[in-house]
């Protein structure tokens, strides 16, 4: 219990300190990183733990965002009523579509999920009565928390950090539980997992739905932050970005998911002077990370003085330090 709580507290504390002196522009970027981090923590369940290559993550973010946008603007629901419904619909949809989809593996699954994201984009663009088409949905109401309106970047960041902290702690708890181990076992070897009494179909659907649930939370945050949603924000390119964030940060690691989201949100802004050459730089960066740092940024953690490998002597009650969280 100690590590998840420390993780949540650490995230909140660092964000709080940063929020004190950052400019509005950087606060906005930080907000976008926090939202992306929430989505990537979700993707970590599907890809990092269960090994499901999902390229439909942006579609699930979009379902959450469009869910609250439609419910609050078209039906006049209160924001806090729309949020659980939008998340619930996304989770149920992902589990239903996951049932046939997750029979596929590897590249086939990647292509099928990519197709799902493209389908979402087409629906969002063309179902004009419901989604507003390419014009999107504007005038999404402001979210308030405990009577306090989250109107400016700073207050929204505090709220976003709270959500991220809670989700990171929850994800860390799952990571250390039998459910987390089952997901990692399924990724390592499906047949051996079945032979260990694990229902691999259920585990994969659960990981996929959990990922979609986190994506929907990120979508809700996005909708209430930008207060405008349009199909462009949820096309398949964003799914690839989420995957890149996870790989850059370190798949299978919660800290890695957060670091990756921050780095890949700020990097394009810092390198704006490169213009379109940024894409070439980005490609090289990805290649470099895959070759030299296959475990992502968190892989650098093993050089920290307090992370030297443990001696083989078994200590009952102490967990392996192999996978960081």
């Amino acid at each position: 219990m100690r590590i998840p709580l420390a993780l949540a507290f650490g995230i909140f504390a660092i964000g709080l300190v940063l929020s004190a002196f950052l400019s509005d522009y950087n606060l906005r970027l930080l907000n976008l990183s926090v939202i992306a981090a929430v989505a990537v923590i979700g993707l970590n369940f599907a890809f990092g733990y269960a090994g499901l290559i999902s390229l439909s993550h942006a579609a699930f973010v979009g379902m959450g965002a469009y869910g609250v946008a439609i419910l609050t603007t078209k039906f006049g629901w209160l924001p806090w009523l729309a949020v659980p419904v939008a998340i619930g619909i996304t989770v149920v949809f992902s589990a239903l579509i996951g049932f046939p989809l997750l029979r596929l593996r590897g590249h086939y699954l990647a292509l099928a999920t990519l197709g799902l994201n493209v389908a979402f984009y087409i629906v969002a663009t063309n179902w004009i009565e419901l989604t507003g088409g390419t014009n999107g949905i504007a005038r999404i109401p402001e979210l308030s928390f405990l009577g306090y309106p989250l109107a400016d970047e700073r207050s929204f960041l505090w709220f976003g950090l709270g959500v991220l902290g809670v989700l990171a702690a929850g994800a860390s708890l799952i990571h250390r539980s039998r459910y987390g181990r089952a997901m990692m076992a399924v990724r390592d070897d499906e047949i051996a997992s079945e032979m260990t009494g694990i229902n691999t179909t259920v585990v994969k659907i659960a990981a996929f739905a959990l990922a979609a649930g986190c994506a929907a939370v990120a979508g809700c945050l996005f909708a209430f932050h930008v207060r405008f949603v349009a199909p462009e924000d949820f096309n398949y390119a964003h799914s690839i970005t989420y995957l890149a964030m996870l790989i850059v940060g370190g798949e299978g690691s919660i800290v890695g998911a957060i670091l990756g989201a921050i780095v890949l949100t700020f990097l394009p802004e810092w390198l704006r002077f490169l213009g379109t050459a940024y894409l070439a730089f980005f490609g090289l960066l990805m290649l470099g990370i895959l070759i030299f740092l296959p475990t992502g940024i968190v892989g650098l953690g093993r050089f920290l003085p307090w992370r030297r490998p443990k001696r083989p002597a078994a200590i009952l009650g102490v967990r392996s330090t192999e996978v960081s969280s």
Binding site: M184, M195, G197, A314, V323
Partner: protein
């Protein structure tokens, strides 16, 4: 009491008859060996028993209940356990976590209880010192023992072992034989063993089923099998005499 029974199992892959009308019956606590040349259908039989492959005809029962079409995980929960010929372990998990994954078949156990039970299994199999180690740092023999520990953690009543001695040195084979003997005595565990190490088979098995080209050519006690002319011709070789491990 019959724990595991397979009746009239037939499995065809295109023109190849992998298993033809195979019958196998395992009583509680019994040690049965399945032997035969490579390609005889031994691993296919285990695949049919564990549900990785469905038979074209025939029936598989655990304690009288038909599981012919049941999913693998359901069979494991019903009391079956298996290890693989080349060993399949979860390389991203530590030794202890591998075993805990098996122990988690008991949904009523807390995380601390899972850990305690798994440590006890590792201790009984001589792997306690390696509990916190990564799989990558283990020897081949140790990895196969981890797989066995994980299968045991699922609390099986029948354990299916696919060539557990392959790749082990003679000292490790002796250890394995001792531990399997101890396990049977302690837990009334039935074991179905596929093995080419005849010393091990003859020392442990109470009954032996011999397969050749997918057909059961003989079944009986080790003494009967050693003098069966069909078995000598197909597998053991003329003039075979048992010399121990």
């Amino acid at each position: 009491m019959t724990i595991l029974q397979a009746r009239g199992i037939t499995k065809r892959y295109g023109g190849l008859l992998a298993l033809s009308d195979i019958n196998l019956k395992v009583e509680a606590g019994q040690f049965v060996a399945v032997i035969g040349p490579n390609g005889a259908g031994k691993s296919t039989l285990l695949n049919v028993l564990t549900g990785l492959v469905f038979p074209d005809s025939g029936e598989v029962q655990i304690e009288g209940k038909s599981i012919t079409r049941a999913a693998t995980h359901a069979r494991i929960r019903a009391g079956l356990g298996r290890t693989f010929q080349h060993g399949r372990i979860f390389t991203r998990l530590s030794v202890l976590e591998n075993v805990m994954t098996g122990a988690a078949i008991r949904r009523d156990l807390s995380e601390a209880q899972l850990r305690e039970r798994s440590m006890a299994i590792l201790e009984s199999m001589g792997l306690a010192a390696e509990a916190e180690m990564a799989i990558g740092s283990l020897s081949y023999g140790q990895r196969r023992m981890v797989e066995l520990c994980r299968a045991l953690a699922c609390e099986p009543r029948v354990l299916l072992l696919d060539e557990p001695a392959a790749g082990l040195n003679s000292g490790e084979v002796d250890q394995l034989v001792d531990r399997l003997t101890a396990l049977r005595a302690a837990q009334q565990l039935a074991i179905v063993l596929i093995e080419h190490n005849m010393g091990m088979v003859m020392r442990l098995a109470e009954r032996i089923l011999v397969l050749n080209f997918g057909e059961g050519i003989a079944e009986g006690t080790p003494a009967e099998i050693q003098s069966d002319p069909a078995v000598l011709a197909a597998y053991l070789g003329e003039g075979y005499t048992h010399v121990g491990v």
